[in-house]
């Protein structure tokens, strides 16, 4: 048993300056996720799921919101290596103290079903090389909005912290006496690693897991992740980066419902010190739709079908309206409110929970979802009649409501406008629905209605959404502002990819919205009604890669993609935004949309002619119609 030595210095030192957002690594089990800094501190973990209450909330809640640090005792220790082990979710951080090394290996156990294991299990192992190393364990769980300290008792083999129906236990081998909120010092020797196991029991008894067994479970998970990633298309360019993004996307997908959470955090600021702090622990149908194409493109068909199944199941309560965002269970998001007393990341207040965008009308969502279904149909999957009924409902709504102004993809909270991107996505929704109808039953009257609406949108966008002076499509009717969301233009089939309008729009966005280097702003600064300024929007840069690749500018696309890969944090993770002057990651982290856009960009580099391919595949799909009719349906129950 280790005798712990209390120390108070580290807490004071850590409180002074927040770690950069990009300093954090992601640990996850596909039900919830933890963010761990390079000094070994888990500063964010919500339980029992992504949108649960934080037990470690220091990242945005300040020093009293709880942390769980395991690392070197001396602040002089330098991180010399930080990586995920192979293509797995196990994170490894190595510190150097002279000739000696302290290594922290950690992961959350993802596969617990069918076994007597807690649903949340975090395993952290310290090992030493080259001699004994002094380390520190600081365990300070605080629950929820008020940072409630736990009722503490010492169990048979673990420390147990309780808050009513929630309990967290911390076991250690060799045994270590830890008191919450009181850092304990230990010495790690090369012949004896120290393994800490954190287990969570929520509305169920705690299940104690022996540290050796827990470490074995991590090894089993590693083998599973390696097997899962081995199934990813070998011809994918920049495969390592794409695999890390796919793994991140999978880690951020809530397995019990199949819902991809936008990010595991709330209120990491887009403008440090400012008010642009939002809760992203929700699911945007747009992200799930992009995920369908991303997973399908790399050969992960089950995941792609799972996303579509979730979309159709979750949207059921509000059909034919497609909600802008949903909870992990497909419920309406909670009313947005501000957490009182939360200091925010780097003083960025308010810290918000809930999301006020939930009640907006956004036309583009329908386009993303129906296009995702079309991608599946293109790949030879026939939709269940119920799925097709739901999609027809969405298309009917688009045909009816497309002339209305909407909040647009950027969810601006001032007045709705006639966004060109939204109209284009409305066009996409109807176009793809009509294409799906080539192999699925559709009444002639409904088909005529969709065709008429699609053609009307096209005519209106070409006249009112294009600025001849700028030679570019614009952000909204009558405006001369540009919108980086329009970079999806060459993917739609709305215009020929070689058309001057497409090429000039891409160039105009690249010039006018450039944030320097490979980065782009999503719209001109100061046009969103919020105080302060935001960073460059990373998904837009990946959309630019896609646009360049699809319009035959492969060399430019490759160059840009490589430059963007250099902007990832050392673990290959991306936030939503980036400070163009410092390269600091901004906003919630890591971000599903950015990683999904990265995968799509890699796919565009692999298949630059995809829009044309789509037409060809569609024709092929029609030829296979008879065969498809004989084959069993291939998506999931909605």
């Amino acid at each position: 048993m280790y005798a712990s030595r209390a120390t108070d210095g580290s807490r004071v030192r850590r409180a002074a300056l927040p770690r950069p957002i990009g300093d954090y690594g992601l640990l996850g089990d596909t039900r919830t996720a933890a963010l761990v800094s390079s000094d070994g501190a888990v500063d964010w973990l919500c339980v029992p799921r992504f949108d649960g209450a934080p037990v470690f909330g220091r990242l945005v809640g300040g020093p009293t919101a709880g942390t769980f640090r395991v690392g070197p005792a001396r602040s002089a220790a330098a991180v010399v290596a930080r990586r995920y082990r192979g293509h797995t979710a196990t994170l490894e951080t190595t510190w150097a103290l002279g000739e000696r090394r302290l290594i922290l290996s950690e992961a959350m156990v993802a596969e617990v079903a069918g076994r007597l294991l807690p649903s949340t299990l975090l395993v952290r192992r310290l090992s030493a090389e080259g001699g004994a190393v002094d380390a520190i364990v600081e365990f300070d769980p605080r629950l929820g909005e008020r940072h409630r300290p736990p009722r503490v008792r010492r169990g048979r083999r673990a420390l147990v912290c309780e808050w009513g129906s929630l309990a967290v236990s911390l076991g250690c081998a060799p045994e270590l006496v830890v008191e919450p909120g009181r850092p304990a010092a230990i010495t790690v020797t090369p012949d004896q690693p120290v393994t800490l196991v954190l287990a969570v029991g929520h509305r169920e008894p705690l299940v104690e897991v022996d540290p050796a067994t827990a470490w074995g479970l991590v090894a089993e998970d590693e083998a599973r992740w390696e097997a899962w990633t081995a199934g990813i298309d070998r011809s994918l360019p920049y495969r390592d980066a794409a695999v890390r993004s796919l793994l991140t996307l999978r880690l951020l997908t809530y397995s019990p419902s199949g819902a991809p959470v936008a990010a595991p955090t709330t209120s990491l600021p887009e403008d440090p010190g400012g008010v642009r702090n939002w809760d992203y622990r929700y699911v945007w149908p747009r992200d799930a739709s992009i995920g369908v194409a991303a997973f399908l493109g790399v050969g992960k068909v089950a995941e792609a079908r799972g996303f579509l199944a979730w979309l159709l199941h979750a949207s059921r309560l509000e059909r034919p309206r497609l909600p802008v965002l949903l909870t992990l269970d497909g419920r309406h998001a909670a009313r947005e409110r501000q957490l009182q007393g939360w200091v925010g990341y780097a003083g960025s207040v308010p810290v918000r929970v809930g999301n006020g965008a939930a009640d907006q009308h956004q036309l583009d969502g329908y386009g993303w979802v129906i296009d995702a279904a079309w991608v599946l149909v293109q790949a030879g999957h026939r939709l269940y009649s119920e799925t097709w009924r739901a999609l027809r409902g969405f298309a009917d709504l688009v045909a009816r409501r497309w002339p209305e102004p909407d909040a647009g993809i950027w969810e601006l909270r001032d007045d709705a406008a006639q966004h060109v991107h939204s109209k284009l996505m409305g066009w996409l929704a109807l176009d793809r629905a009509l294409r799906i109808a080539d192999t699925h039953r559709l009444p002639a009257r409904q088909r005529r209605r969709w065709q008429a609406a699609r053609d009307a949108i096209a005519a209106e966008v070409r006249t009112r959404g294009f600025d001849p002076a700028k030679k570019s499509y614009t952000r909204s009717y009558g405006s001369s502002d540009l919108d980086a969301a329009l970079l999806i233009l060459p993917l739609l089939g709305f215009e020929d990819v070689d058309s001057p309008r497409v090429r000039d729009t891409i160039d105009a966005i690249r010039n006018e919205l450039s944030a320097g280097g490979p980065l782009l702003y999503r719209y001109p600064s100061g046009r969103d009604g919020l105080p302060g300024a935001e960073g460059a929007f990373l998904p837009c840069s990946f959309w630019l890669v896609q646009a360049l690749a699809r319009t035959g500018r492969h060399a430019e696309a490759v160059e840009l993609f490589q430059a963007l890969l250099d902007q990832a944090n050392p673990l290959g993770l991306y936030a939503e935004e980036m400070d163009p002057s410092t390269g600091a990651h901004l906003g919630n982290f890591p971000q599903t949309l950015t990683h999904a856009a990265l995968i799509q960009a890699a796919l565009a580099l692999r298949d630059p002619q995809r829009p044309a391919d789509r037409q060809a595949t569609a024709a092929q799909g029609r030829r296979q119609k008879a065969e498809n009719r004989r084959a069993p349906s291939d998506d999931h129950p909605a």
């Binding site: 649903s119 397995s255 059921r316 497909g330 129950p637 909605a638």
Partner: protein
């Protein structure tokens, strides 16, 4: 014990309950779809599942109706209000015991502990089936009050 009444009115009451649930679903009040949840025990196709699930539900409803009829026989005979009271007990058991147990036996329903290897696609109902919408408990209570009330009323009328 009124065997003929049980045989006929059990079917009527279960069909009525199903109709109430489907109406609530179409009105956007809940995503709880009992025919789908039961039918996907035997097939993944939602359209076929609903047909199979409807008949499974009729059978299950008939078994429950047997309990109602036996209780009526033991107490003061069937009345609509006694049926409704039994319906209240029935829905309490369904929401707190039966539905939460379903992920343990359903091959296509994920559990709240599902991990990346899970191929189950039906979402688990969660506490009081709230995962299927916040109004789900209210809808289920009304449907079961109607079930018990209809059964009691029809058996009383014989």
């Amino acid at each position: 014990m009124d065997w003929t009444g049980w045989a006929l009115f059990g079917l009527v009451a279960t069909t009525t309950l199903t109709a109430v649930m489907i109406t609530a679903q179409l009105a956007g009040l809940t995503r709880l779809d009992l025919p789908l949840a039961l039918g996907t025990l035997v097939t993944a196709d939602p359209d076929r599942a609903r047909v199979a699930g409807f008949f499974i539900h009729l059978t299950v409803g008939q078994v429950f109706a047997l309990g109602y009829a036996a209780t009526f026989a033991l107490l003061r005979g069937p009345t609509w209000w006694l049926g409704a009271l039994l319906g209240l007990l029935h829905v309490a058991v369904a929401l707190t015991v039966l539905l939460p147990l379903l992920p343990g036996v359903h091959p296509r329903m994920a559990s709240p502990r599902a991990g990346p290897a899970s191929t189950a696609v039906l979402e688990p109902p969660g506490l009081l089936a709230l995962n299927y919408g916040i109004q789900t408990p209210a809808v289920a209570i009304i449907a079961h009050l109607v079930y018990g009330g209809v059964l009691g009323l029809l058996l009383q009328a014989r």
